[in-house]
């Protein structure tokens, strides 16, 4: 399954490898479903990330809001969306970042929305 699916271009599937690789990032993000953890994240983001044992590379991806890299590191969008809820960052901006497109171009070319103005 995972090998065959990996042949669909630009379409990572959250399989065994991704789940193992991204476990720490996803666990940290999942915890943001609780208000106390959101407060801790806002108060001292790095300390919060350290408490979940994130590597320096993982921390820099999160703190830089590098959505593309977070997914590459095994972050699953449904978990890391909780980071975007704290910010907040619209999901279409996360999509555009992964597609390496400007937000307006992404809305127009991928989602078919009319351009503003």
């Amino acid at each position: 399954m995972s090998e065959a699916a990996a042949t669909i271009p630009d379409t990572p599937l959250f399989d065994r490898a991704g789940s193992i690789r991204g476990y720490r990032i996803n666990k940290m993000a999942m915890a943001l479903g609780q208000p106390a953890n959101r407060a801790a994240f806002k108060a001292d983001e790095e300390a919060y990330l350290d408490s979940f044992g994130l590597s320096a590379h993982e921390k820099s991806a999160v703190m830089g809001r590098d959505w593309h890299e977070m997914v590459r590191l095994g972050g699953n969008l449904f978990f890391i969306l909780k980071i975007s809820a704290v910010d907040p960052t619209p999901i279409t901006r996360i999509g555009a970042a992964q597609a390496s497109m400007e937000h307006e171009d992404f809305l127009h070319l991928r989602l078919g929305k009319k351009r503003n103005g």
């Binding site: 990572p12 959250f14 704290v86 279409t92």
Partner: protein, 280 residues
């Protein structure tokens, strides 16, 4: 016996609930989407169901990766909406159809399914949004619910064929239940969308429109399609559509497509619904 009075398919995009929370229903982005659901809401008012079976997936809100059930069934008395990171939503809790849910669990295991059985659990937008789309925002939900969770997040996800087989058992459970409840089945998720990777933002309107007709008139190709084909045609998260097969398999072979609606995009998703009734 209880009776299936309709099978519904619908998207469950979280932005739909957020749009309602923020009062955006009648904005240019959302009005055409919500307007198309009015016939579905009216159908539901007329149908007066007692129980809603809702087939959906959790989105990393209730289940973490420490334990991932392929199928889970709720037998709780109450299901509270879960905080997905934006804070609690002002919608009522959902009352469980406890006895009927246990009956379904019995039937599943008798038919060689092995579900996780959930006694105390919250529900995310996968269940909330379909309920809001068809029942609006009542003070209390007019139906009891039977939640069925399907893992569509971590691979391996179940095969379309397995979802189909679960629908057959669901029908058997409804028809063997001694009560006289009127039951609607909501298959949720999709339509095409992809939230991850460089193909993010992928929407396939042609495949979505074909799905809305085909799921009614000729679901066979969707039952036999591979998971890879779902991902290719509908996007990585669009593979959620396999959950509509649970609903469809519980219906008669011949159904009437009473209502359908399609709108793209709703947030990053091709969104829509069908209302099916068993043909006489």
């Amino acid at each position: 016996m209880a009776r299936i009075i309709g099978g519904l398919g619908t998207s469950h995009v979280p932005s739909i609930g957020a749009a309602l929370d923020k009062g955006l229903r009648d904005t240019p982005d959302w009005k055409p989407f919500f307007d198309g659901y009015e016939v579905g809401k009216q159908w539901m008012r007329d149908a007066k169901p007692d129980i809603a079976v809702v087939v959906f997936n959790d989105h990393g809100n209730t289940f973490f990766l420490d334990r991932v059930p392929t199928f889970a069934v709720g037998v709780a008395e109450t299901y509270n909406p879960v905080d997905e990171g934006w804070g609690p939503r002002a919608i009522p809790a959902f009352e469980g159809a406890v006895d009927f849910s246990w009956h379904f669990v019995d039937k599943l295991v008798e038919r060689h399914f092995d579900p996780m059985v959930c006694r105390e659990i919250e529900v995310d937008h996968g269940l909330q949004v379909p309920m809001e789309l068809f029942f609006g925002r009542p003070e209390a939900w007019p139906v009891k619910v039977l939640p069925i969770w399907v893992n569509t997040i971590q691979y391996p996800i179940p095969t379309p064929q397995r979802c189909w087989e679960m629908g057959k058992v669901l029908r058997e459970a409804i028809e063997s239940w001694p009560g006289d409840e009127r039951v609607v089945i909501l298959g949720t998720g999709g339509l095409s969308h992809q939230l991850q990777g460089a193909r993010a933002g992928f929407i396939n309107q042609a495949a979505d429109r074909a799905w809305l007709d085909g799921i009614a008139s000729n679901p066979e190709p969707y039952r036999t399609m591979s998971r890879e084909d779902y991902v290719e045609q509908f996007g990585s998260e669009g593979a959620e559509l396999i959950m509509w097969l649970v609903m469809r398999a519980a219906m008669n072979n011949d159904v009437n497509l009473v209502h359908k609606h399609y709108h793209a995009p709703a947030s990053m998703t091709g969104a829509g619904m069908v209302v099916l009734e068993n043909a006489a």
